[in-house]
């Protein structure tokens, strides 16, 4: 009796993972254009989102995107509120201690956004000035590392940009695709802002964060990312979101 039951269970498990597409819930802080943001139709869109959808198609799972505030996004992963984070998470040694990462899917640097009239060419030129960044991001840690620069943490990068536009702070540091979005493409911001410097933070990459030890989800995601790279789908997505620049 028991044997039969276990056989059935095992069969169900194997079956569900192969024939039925597994659902993976991704947490997204959709305030990071063009990587991930909410468009006018209230849908979560962006480069990371398209990438993960393509990866899901290749690896055979169903992605579900759940909008989550950045501050606390890692706590939610540890608490098991979702399976993974697809939200431009930079792979850092500190974060690796607390969670597992997929293969990188995007190379990133930090961009310093300043007003058009500013002469700053690096973060060091911002000594004695106030530089904003989003709380808990690599950009914020980069600002904090430079002595003499006053770091200010915001809940969302948009709020920091708004303050920069209004002249309340002197600069904003964030991932370069985001910096490009605000300083080059958003009409309201690009009139007054520019990218003052690209701060090379070594080899920094985005990866999908997964709860430590959740190998099953990690393998699925990695399979998808590999396929997207191998089939040249990555290039199409890049062209869609970043054009030719």
């Amino acid at each position: 009796m028991f044997k039969k039951f276990f056989m059935l269970m095992a069969f169900c498990l194997i079956f569900s993972q192969t024939a039925l597409a597994r659902t993976i819930v991704f947490a997204v802080d959709a305030t990071w254009p063009p990587m991930e943001f909410v468009n006018e139709d209230k849908e979560i869109v962006g480069y990371s989102i398209d990438y993960m959808k393509a990866a899901a198609k290749e690896a055979g799972f169903t992605p579900v995107f759940k909008n989550t505030a950045w501050d606390g996004i890692f706590a939610g992963l540890a608490g098991g509120n979702y399976d993974a984070i697809c939200s431009s998470v930079s792979i850092t040694p500190e974060r690796k201690k607390a969670m597992d990462f997929s293969e990188p899917y995007f190379k990133v640097s930090q961009g310093l956004v300043v007003p058009k009239e500013s002469k700053a060419k690096s973060l060091e030129d911002m000594k004695g000035k106030v530089v904003g960044a989003q709380i808990g991001t690599t950009g914020y840690f980069a600002v904090k590392k430079v002595p003499g620069v006053v770091a200010k943490s915001y809940d969302e990068i948009g709020l920091a940009m708004q303050d920069l536009l209004n002249g309340r702070i002197d600069g904003v540091v964030c991932d370069d695709p985001v910096a490009a979005q605000y300083a080059l493409r958003e009409p309201k911001f690009s009139e007054k802002l520019k990218i003052g410097a690209i701060i090379d933070s070594g080899d920094e990459y985005y990866g999908i964060a997964v709860k430590k030890g959740n190998k099953e989800v990690l393998d699925l995601i990695n399979k998808g990312i590999r396929a997207v790279k191998a089939k040249g789908i990555e290039k199409q997505i890049k062209e869609k979101w970043f054009g030719s620049n």
Partner: protein
Amino acid sequence: MNRDKEIKIDVTDGAAIPSPKDKGLVTAWRITLIGALLTIILLVAFKPDPYLRILKFVPDGILVTFEVTFLSIALSLIVGLLTGLGRIARNRFVNLIASIYVEVIRGIPLLVQLFYIYYALGSFVQVPPFLAAVLAMTICYGAYMGEVFRAGIESIDHGQTEAARSLGFNRTQTMFYVIIPQAMRTILPPVGNEFIALLKDTSLVSILAVADLLRRGREFATETFAYFETYTMIALIYLLITLILSKMVSIMEEKMKPYE
């Protein structure tokens, strides 16, 4: 009141009239205070790695929280008094303005007011974040305090006004020398509650990137991933501060108690 009791009052060993609240050593306030303090001490003693670092990280945040709190309290007392007087003013126009102010502000959440003053008005006027925080807290709590003041003033028997007026006080003198000093007693407990509510609500200003206690804690948590430890500590610190504040209020209440 007989002479014996009067002599007793001069003796400094405690109040002459025991208040019903004070039931010996075991009070909820004491238990909570000792509990909070002990928890902090034990946490720091047994797990200094995150907890002590958190304690070192947050003092300037506590300072900012205090600055916002006390500035807002001082200003909202003034705004509240003016609003309270406006709400009972005979001048229809003044009364209407004060009433509309209370009605509008009480109907908008504080968080929305904070966003409004900082980000919405930021398109026209540049208010520094700290000032925006104090301004929003003042405007919001000024309305609440106004109602407290109004109720307190209205609770004073009308005979007091009649007596003062017949003694030759004019309306303003009556208000400031006779009515308000008596109303203070009624007003103090609810105002004390507003103080404590205000202190707790200052945690909302962290949304404006003001580096208060909560934001400092969040910065620490996002950097170290020690969410549980950080927020435990932050909660305990807030609790300690409010306990001290509530004690101050009840001491003031004691001082104001009339000796029958």
